[in-house]
């Protein structure tokens, strides 16, 4: 600690240069924090808000290809399956197609049993079960459009039409649900699958996916295989995976996000390495006589090298920490803007960031530190 003023003063020998280098590190580590945070945060969000006790069965061809509703009792009959719910994508919008609303037709009571993270008052559930055209609406969505229980809303579909040719379904709001975890937005609409299926003009008797609840998480893979085996070699082969893998697969469809993030962050840090290295090299080159004076007064070779390394470490760790702090402050908003739960920046990203800052400091300061270590007092003082 007693050497700190010496290190600190060395660091600020050229204020403008140190500030610019520090600023570059701050920006780079903010970028690192947010970009790495998005990939790590998505994985964290999936781990936290999905369950391996829920399986999703889709067509083996692709998720758009419908499956026969008749598969439901056959899936239900498999040992270890607790319940099965059909899930029909509605492709909903309100008033304008740009006001897209995630809307699905399901077996409401079984769906809510399968998803205990949804909260709906009992009397509203009972009302829903009594009302054929009923819908339960997420609280955030209801607040956004000013909807309340008792309202009848016209909900358009970008996928389906009714038998009379209309693509607008009239739904009666009988319940307003919200997520048990308040951080998660409640902005979906659910209505009766039977009503949906009977009123649509095509695709009757089919579902987009089946959602299956199992009792024993350790049997997840086995039961998924048994479901798919049931329909193997049929015109409607299935592909079943647990909810977590399903969510990860959806994200992977966007591309290899990890690869892009790592490539960008790697390029930024690599550039930074040269920049910081150049700063440290210049800084040492400019004060060769000063370092020689330290040695004259008894500072050992390794001690002088340690001072140079410490300068780089303070610069990189301080600026890196500030950058990561900015990333941590901005991260929940970035995540929210992406439509994901505004989780905090994962601790693993901060830890990796600090390790990267340490590595950056060490690698960039090593050549000048070795130069300082090998410095000959006599030559340095004679400016040779």
């Amino acid at each position: 600690m007693k050497y700190f003023p010496l290190i600190w003063a060395g660091l600020w020998r050229k204020r403008a240069r140190t500030c610019l280098t520090a600023l570059s590190i701050v920006v780079a580590f903010s970028l690192f924090g947010i970009m790495r945070g998005v990939t790590a945060g998505l994985n964290d969000a999936i781990a936290e808000f999905t369950s391996e006790t829920r399986l999703i069965t889709q067509s083996r061809i692709n998720i758009i290809e419908p499956l026969p509703l008749a598969f439901l009792p056959r899936i239900e009959s498999i040992d270890g399956v607790t319940s099965v719910v059909p899930y029909g994508y509605f492709g909903g919008y309100y008033q304008e197609p740009r006001n897209q609303i995630n809307t699905a037709a399901v077996y409401i009571d079984e769906f809510l049993e399968m998803y205990p993270e949804f909260v709906l008052p009992q009397e509203q559930l009972e009302a829903m079960m009594r009302t054929r055209t009923g819908a339960i609406v997420g609280r955030d969505l209801a607040e956004r459009f000013g909807w309340k229980i008792g309202d009848r809303i016209p909900l358009g579909s970008t996928i389906h039409t009714q038998r009379d040719g209309s693509s607008v379904w009239e739904l009666d709001i009988v319940g307003i649900w919200h997520m048990r975890d308040e951080r998660v937005e409640s902005d979906d609409i659910y209505f009766h699958f039977d009503y949906f299926d009977e009123s649509r003009s095509s695709g009757n008797g089919t579902v987009a996916v089946f959602m299956t609840k199992i009792g024993d998480v350790s049997r997840s893979a086995e039961i998924a295989e048994r479901i798919d085996a049931l329909f193997a070699n049929s015109p409607n082969e299935t592909f079943t995976q647990n909810e977590r893998d399903f969510a990860l697969a959806q994200i992977e469809q966007l591309g290899d996000i990890d690869f892009f993030v790592n490539a960008i962050v790697g390029a930024v840090l690599f550039t930074l390495l040269f920049m910081t290295g150049n700063t440290m090299m210049q800084s040492v080159r400019e004060r060769i006589p000063e370092l020689a004076v330290l040695k004259t007064y008894g500072y050992r070779d390794a001690g002088v090298a340690a001072l140079v390394l410490a300068e780089a470490l303070i610069l990189c760790a301080g600026a890196g920490l500030l950058g990561l702090g900015i990333a941590a402050a901005a991260f929940p908003s970035v995540f929210e803007a992406m439509g994901v739960v505004p989780l905090p920046l994962p601790g693993s990203v901060v830890a990796i960031g600090l390790a990267a800052a340490g590595f950056l400091a060490f690698v960039s300061a090593l050549p000048p530190a070795l130069r300082a270590q090998r410095l000959s007092i006599v030559d340095a003082l004679a400016a040779r």
Binding site: A9, R13, V293, K295, G298, I377, V378
Partner: protein, 231 residues
């Protein structure tokens, strides 16, 4: 009085590219404790090389260098650094202060290697600055001080760890006459009142006049100016 510096048959040379330049040729020297010795001579005569050997900044190619009871030519680089920290204070022609540190921080630099508490370091720094007459400039950075003041700070830094030997390389080489005299008077005071042994290299005969003994180095050997022969 006992010899604080004893140099026997020292050879020292440097490589300059492919050329080898022999600087000191079998030089012998004794400096007694409490002495103020001025080493004079033309440029390239080897006086700074000799001073570097006395201060433990360099090692001879051959011969013995004993300073404050230690065979410097036999010490490892680490032990030599430790020895310098304990026994020698250095004053350079261009002061060589750290420009980013205040005067008091500059003076404190040698003490950071000791186990002294911050309070004790501060006390000693203040005493050293007081001795050179710059206590009121403690917070000033070198750029805020005149050349003479900077050299006084450098002398305070050389004194702060209370070394027995002060090694001064052209301490007034960058100063005007008046300032030079005040610096030399200060060195003389340190020698006479505080018992510091001083070995000073200078070109200036007037500066050498402040020393208790003057020796001339020419072509790598000590010569007696009056006799014109090896001393």
């Amino acid at each position: 009085m006992a010899a604080i510096v004893s140099i026997r048959n020292v050879l020292k040379g440097y490589s300059r590219g492919k050329q080898r330049v022999e600087v000191l040729h079998g030089l012998d020297l004794d400096v007694e404790e409490g002495e103020f010795l001025a080493l004079m001579g033309p440029s390239g005569s080897g006086k700074t090389t000799l001073l570097n050997l006395i201060g433990g900044l360099d090692r001879p190619d051959k011969g013995e260098v004993v300073v404050v009871g230690e065979r410097l030519d036999r010490l490892s680089s680490g032990r030599l650094a430790q020895w310098r920290a304990r026994n020698v204070g250095f004053v350079f022609q261009f002061y060589n202060l750290l420009p980013v540190l205040s005067a008091e921080r500059n003076v404190e630099v040698p003490l950071l290697l000791t186990k002294l508490s911050a309070k004790e370091r501060k006390r000693r720094v203040h005493a050293a600055l007081e001795l050179v007459g710059l206590a009121d400039r403690a917070k000033h950075k070198p750029t805020e001080l005149s050349g003479g003041q900077q050299q006084r700070v450098a002398i305070a830094r050389a004194l702060v760890s209370d070394p027995v030997l002060l090694v001064c390389d052209e301490p007034t080489g960058d100063l005007d006459r008046e300032t030079s005299d005040s610096i030399l008077e200060l060195l003389q005071l340190l020698n006479r009142e505080h018992g510091k042994t001083i070995v000073m290299v200078t070109h200036d005969p007037k500066a050498a006049g402040y020393a208790s003994r003057r020796l001339y180095v020419d072509k790598g050997v000590l010569v007696d100016r009056t006799m014109g022969a090896a001393a």
